[in-house]
């Protein structure tokens, strides 16, 4: 503890039990663990010093951004240090000519977007948690969001990283590409703090769209809605976003935000097109036509920026509105080939019925990325167990459909035992080779993302 205080200063270390309670979980609240201490480094040098201390005392360390992660990636480990990057929260540089910004990992996603307002550029990844989530966390989980359909996930928007390795060494990858090496930057994105701790991020900025066309299409059944999604993609239209909310969640959203959604509808799609008017007007006409042909009861488009904002507010805050339906909930993250959406939604309903768990759905439908939300009461152990079992089963169903167990939230601790369902032994071994090349002692965020093989961690120096 004294070494930690020396590394970052007394005022940047928490170790009193009462202060640590806040940090015992992230947004995956089912598991909790109090860390030995929380440290708040303010510079790369301090991060390196903390990792040096952890190495000396062979102490595990978990990096944490805002703690909005939904898979327990920032869950502390017993006796470990929690390394909070929230005080490294400065936007260091914005270079519009190079369409690039340089930020510290603790900068909030939305703060960067706000800082760029009026510049003609924005940071494209827009997870629903963007008001609270840090860019470091976005990179660590390779976060997505509604607009990844057209613009890609976080890794597509990272030009460079500065990171501290487990042994305290600082490396800089990018922002200028260098073909003379392996793509470590691509590995670090989405590595959930298991390979290195990020201390600086060069992000790509995206030009603001000239125009938006935002629509909502109301369908009698979720199946009709997902068929329309497939048709739109099959027609060669890639909207900026294509989001689904099913009947279960519409009720909560409507009560919370009064978006004017019909409560008896089976599902609503929020579809957004962006680009020059010359393109989006034509595409809008085609999208509305496809929805109508696909038995949409109603297709409306936002006629003002305020209407567009309301639609997006309803979608992005939909999960929060679930609090009106249930004392506790768990949002799942799975992915299937887009054409399997009708199938998976049907299976989710069936799984929910069988386990006696109410499940409502939002989905980044255009990507085949589903977010079933399982409702339960945390005070009832039986309900918790049933929700966990249902969640696990629906992810196994995603695997059976040729999909995966997470599209954008990460594996964390929640899904780490599902990795062997998704990958074969040799595949996991290949990943362990990567893990061990960075962190042979498995000291960074152990127990997350990937478990050691039967052989256990390699001995250092081997």
């Amino acid at each position: 503890m004294r070494a930690l205080r020396a590394a970052v200063g007394r005022e940047n270390v928490l170790s009193a039990s009462s202060e640590l309670a806040v940090y015992e979980c992230d947004a995956f609240t089912i598991q909790r663990q109090r860390p030995a201490a929380v440290v708040f480094p303010r510079s790369t040098a301090q991060v390196a010093a903390v990792l040096g201390v952890c190495r000396r005392f062979e102490c595990p360390v978990v990096a944490r951004g805002a703690g909005t992660g939904l898979a327990g990636g920032a869950l502390p480990v017993p006796g470990g240090i929690l390394l909070s990057l929230t005080r490294m929260n400065h936007i260091l540089d914005v270079r519009l000519r190079d369409a690039m910004a340089v930020v510290e990992p603790g900068v909030l996603n939305l703060d960067l977007t706000r800082a760029l307002a009026g510049s003609g550029y924005h940071f494209a990844p827009d997870p629903s948690s963007q008001g609270a989530a840090t860019i470091g966390g976005n990179v660590a989980t390779n976060a997505g969001g509604p607009h990844t359909l057209k613009y890609g996930v976080t890794v597509n928007h990272v030009l460079g990283l500065e990171a501290v390795l487990g042994d305290g060494l600082v490396v800089q990858l990018g922002p200028v590409e260098n073909p003379a090496g392996l793509d470590l930057l691509g590995l670090l994105c989405g590595s959930e703090g298991t390979l290195a701790v990020l201390t600086k991020i060069w992000v790509r900025l995206t030009p603001d769209p000239l125009e938006w066309r935002t629509m909502r299409a109301v369908f009698e059944t979720a199946e009709d809605a997902t068929q329309a999604v497939s048709r739109i993609i099959a027609e060669g239209i890639i909207p900026a976003a294509m989001e689904l909310m099913d009947q279960g969640i519409l009720a909560a959203v409507e009560e919370a935000f009064h978006g004017g959604f019909p409560l008896d509808a089976g599902a609503v799609l929020v579809i957004e097109l962006d680009g020059p008017a010359a393109g989006v007007d034509e595409d809008q006409r085609r999208v509305m036509e496809i929805c109508r042909q696909g038995r949409a009861r109603e297709v409306l488009h936002a006629r003002s920026p305020a209407e567009r904002e309301l639609l997006w507010k309803c979608r992005k805050l939909a999960v929060g509105a679930v609090g009106r339906l249930s004392p506790s909930y768990m949002i799942q993250d799975g992915v299937v080939p887009r054409t399997r959406l009708p199938h998976i939604l049907g299976r989710i309903a069936e799984i929910g019925r069988r386990h006696g768990v109410r499940i409502v759905n939002v989905a980044h439908a255009g990507d085949g990325n589903i977010h079933p939300i399982l409702l339960f009461d945390e005070r009832d152990r039986g309900q918790v167990q049933r929700a966990l079992a249902a969640g696990r089963e629906l992810l196994e169903e995603c695997i059976a459909c040729g999909g995966g167990i997470t599209a954008e939230h990460g594996v964390g601790t929640e899904k780490v035992t599902l990795m062997e369902k998704l990958f074969g032994g040799a595949d996991l071994e290949a990943m362990r080779r990567v893990r061990q090349s960075f962190d042979p002692a498995w000291r960074l965020n152990p127990g997350k993302k990937l478990l050691p093989g039967a052989k256990g961690p390699e001995k250092c120096g081997k």
Binding site: V171, D183, I238, G279, G402, G424
Partner: protein, 418 residues
């Protein structure tokens, strides 16, 4: 085969009929400590250091099928030896495409593109193969088959091994199968071209493009000695550079963007855009492939704002060079050339590289790798790849775990010449 033997020290080329046979070949090679040089279409064998350790070639020529193409999911799974031309033909039948420019697409293979991360003009609008590889199957240096990624467009499970393989030059595994994200094929495409008389004017135009209301998919800058087979008339003698701006989209979109760009350029005439014109239908496709076919000797990356300075420096330092920049992406390709060619070209190239070109790129904060060298050039690893980059120790550690005996493409990449 002659081409292969020119670049690789191979006694024979094994052509496995399936993945199991490839794995078997690699297991045997590992046992006997034989070097294995993976071979796709053989279009990029000059890239990297010239290997010297004798061994066998391992060709993907018989691994050339399409495994599955669920067009509505916008993905395709293919065997690594499928050529880019075959792939694009199949994709086109469903109005899809892979928007990566590849030189010699009739020969170049999907596996080769992944291993070498080649790209061209459209990188600005679409990224590189890195942004499209969703999953793969490969055989490691001990003959063990492993997969990474998946079949879906969005996937956060596991480490991003597909990206790790991109640009690894076959040093981590022999790629047998690749799943790619594909895109709807745009209806229409146009290229707008102008001449520029001064380099200051070029930077004004490029900076203007970064603020433009249009969305180019390619921003190409041509300077230096004109390349042969140019599909459009040569620039007038007063011009230092040519700028070509490409657009893709629906017809209405492309028309609007072309009109808009002309407007932006014409109102900013002081910036020096001269003889603005839109390439004709007859010139268009030939121009796209001509632009994509340029590989060059040197591949340079800088920040976009440094492009003009480096292009200017290259034009000055190598008076006979042909230079093409993917200016929006910060990429510059240089075809080194001496106005009076001689037997000493190889030595001259090496000297230029060491004394002038690498220092000029370093001064601009850029990276430089050698894609091909004139015959006779004796290049060290630091000439081809530069000095070791940050994280080199980790790269070596990864390599040694995927290929403990160092038999995969030894001596070609940054891992030395054992």
């Amino acid at each position: 085969m002659r081409q292969v033997k020119h670049f690789l020290p191979v006694t024979q080329v094994v052509v496995p009929p399936d993945e199991a046979a490839a794995a078997q070949a690699l297991r045997e090679a590992a046992c006997s400590d034989t070097a294995v040089y993976p071979i796709g279409g053989g279009t990029n064998l000059a890239y990297g250091l010239r290997p010297v350790r004798p061994g066998i070639g391992l060709s993907t020529a018989r691994l050339a099928g399409i495994v599955s193409f669920p067009a509505q999911d916008l993905t395709v799974t293919v065997q690594a030896g499928l050529t880019i031309a075959e792939l694009n033909k199949r994709l086109a039948s469903e109005r899809r495409w892979l928007p990566i420019d590849v030189a010699q697409p009739e020969l170049a293979t999907v596996g080769g593109v992944v291993a070498t991360n080649v790209f061209g003009p459209r990188r600005f609008g679409y990224g590189t193969i890195r942004d499209y590889v969703l999953g793969f199957r490969a055989v490691d240096g001990q003959g063990e088959v492993f997969c990474g990624g998946g079949q879906v467009v969005k996937n956060a499970a596991g480490y991003n091994l597909p990206r790790l393989l991109v640009g690894s030059l076959g040093t981590l595994g022999f790629i047998t199968q690749v799943t790619l994200m594909v895109q709807p094929r745009p209806q229409d495409s146009r290229i707008v071209m102008c001449d520029v008389r001064e380099f200051e004017g070029v930077e004004c135009l490029l900076a203007g493009l970064s603020r433009s209301r249009t969305l180019p998919v390619a921003i190409e800058l041509l300077a230096g000695r004109p390349r042969p087979d140019c599909p459009f008339p040569q620039a007038p003698s007063g011009a230092v550079a040519r700028l070509l701006v490409g657009f893709d989209g629906s017809q209405a979109e492309v028309d609007w963007m072309v009109r808009q760009l002309r407007k932006e350029w014409e109102t900013g005439q002081a910036a020096g855009a001269a003889s603005i014109r839109v390439l004709s239908d007859g010139e268009l496709e030939r121009t796209w492939s001509w632009l994509a076919d340029f590989s060059g000797h040197l591949l340079i990356h800088v920040l976009p704002s440094e492009v003009v300075g480096v292009v200017q420096a290259m034009a000055r330092l190598v008076p006979g060079a042909s230079i093409q920049a993917h200016a929006g992406s910060g990429v510059i390709r240089v075809c080194w050339f001496r106005l009076a060619p001689s037997e000493a070209d190889g030595e001259m190239f090496t000297a230029d590289l060491r004394e002038k070109l690498r220092p000029a790129v370093a001064a601009a904060g850029g990276s430089l790798v050698v894609l091909a060298a004139p015959d006779g050039a004796q290049l060290a690893s630091s000439d081809v790849w530069g000095l070791p980059v940050d994280g080199a120790d980790i790269m070596h550690a990864i390599r040694s775990r995927f290929d403990p005996k160092g038999i995969l493409n030894p001596g070609r990449f940054i891992f030395g010449n054992p």
